[in-house]
């Protein structure tokens, strides 16, 4: 029971940080989404030891583990786009498949090339 309260309190803390980030974006007219500002904000607060890792770790673990749940309504929104799927579904699928392959090869091979070169230099 105590664990549940701690997790809930930590989630509320994360919600507060998210709200602060949104307010900052509005006030300063930043051309960046609130979630990115929030990540930078929390990272800085942790680095500067304003917030200790134990204060947010449990709550964040819960949120990240259940992230999928929070996307369900957005995904379900597809029912408003039936004609799009019928008309362009195939082209969209091809784009996603080929593009994802390209990203994997690009990131993986460049990463392998750089780290491989480093290892060879070391030995």
């Amino acid at each position: 029971m105590k664990k549940l309260w701690i997790t809930t309190a930590q989630i509320i803390l994360l919600i507060v940080i998210a709200q602060i980030a949104d307010v900052l974006v509005q006030w300063l007219h930043l051309p960046i989404p609130g979630s990115i500002v929030g990540i930078i904000l929390l990272f800085l607060l942790l680095q500067l030891k304003v917030i200790r890792l134990e204060w947010v770790e449990r709550g964040s673990k819960f949120l990240v583990a259940e992230m999928l749940l929070f996307f369900i309504p957005a995904t379900v929104g597809i029912i408003n786009y039936k004609s799009l799927i019928v008309n362009s579904g195939l082209s969209i699928s091809i784009t996603i498949i080929v593009s994802t392959l390209a990203v994997m090869l690009c990131a993986g091979l460049i990463g392998q090339w750089i780290t491989g070169r480093k290892e060879r230099a070391a030995s």
Partner: protein
């Protein structure tokens, strides 16, 4: 009010059930990422309510996306030493991958005759869902299409990633982590963790950095490619 609570509770119940099924039968096509939305859509279609009615209640879940995204800062904080040690390899390969994602999606979308709105929706697909959706909206895309495209990308990452690692002999943990984190966001991280913890951590860093690069580069690249 009762209706809103019904859809909120119903979505959570379906999600929990889908998770339970996946735990018993861990097959790719049974991932809650597919099963939960499909079941929810079926229930909506059968009951004949509109998406707006559904979203009145279930939309509360969407509000939790931002705090959950911010929680990712903790991954970055915990693994900052791995990033410092391999900064060049990680940043260089992630940047190339993230830019490849935008260029190839816009290029292919044009080639296949998809309209601008869809192009803008597909471009930020490799970033993690909440950020991809925000970037999409910023650039004039449709966040829902982006959410679906991002989801499909994550699933593809789970399926194709291990094959690419095997076929192209990607042996370093850093390169593997970058491959999964850059192409397939949080779905990629879960797969990367199956290799070892370094691969998982690098995937986490790569996902974060992909989001930053996509955010900064997507608006310019889209304009330039058009």
């Amino acid at each position: 009010m009762g209706n809103a609570l019904f859809w909120l509770g119903g979505t959570i119940a379906i999600y929990l059930a889908a998770k339970k099924i996946y735990r018993a039968h861990p097959k790719v096509y049974l991932t809650p990422l597919i099963v939960a939305p499909v079941v929810v859509i079926a229930v909506i279609l059968i009951s004949g309510v509109s998406f707006d009615t559904y979203d009145e209640g279930a939309g509360w879940l969407t509000k939790m996306v931002e705090p959950a995204t911010i929680a990712l800062a903790i991954t970055l904080y915990k693994h900052i030493d791995i990033l410092k040690k391999n900064a060049y390899a990680i940043l260089a390969s992630v940047s190339c991958g993230a830019i490849a994602a935008i260029v190839t999606s816009v290029g292919l979308a044009r080639l296949l005759g998809l309209n601008e709105e869809i192009m803008d929706s597909l471009a930020p697909r490799s970033a993690t869902t909440p950020i991809a959706m925000t970037i999409s909206q910023f650039n004039g895309g449709v966040p829902t299409i982006t959410a679906i495209a991002t989801l499909v990308t994550g699933l593809l990452g789970l399926i194709m990633g291990p094959l690419i690692v095997k076929w192209f002999k990607i042996r370093s943990s850093i390169a593997r982590g970058v491959l999964f984190g850059t192409s397939a966001h949080s779905a990629g991280i879960s797969k990367a963790l199956e290799y070892d913890t370094v691969t998982g951590s690098v995937a986490g860093i790569a996902m974060m950095f992909t989001a930053f690069v996509t955010l900064c580069a997507a608006p310019w690249l889209i304009i330039w490619l058009q």
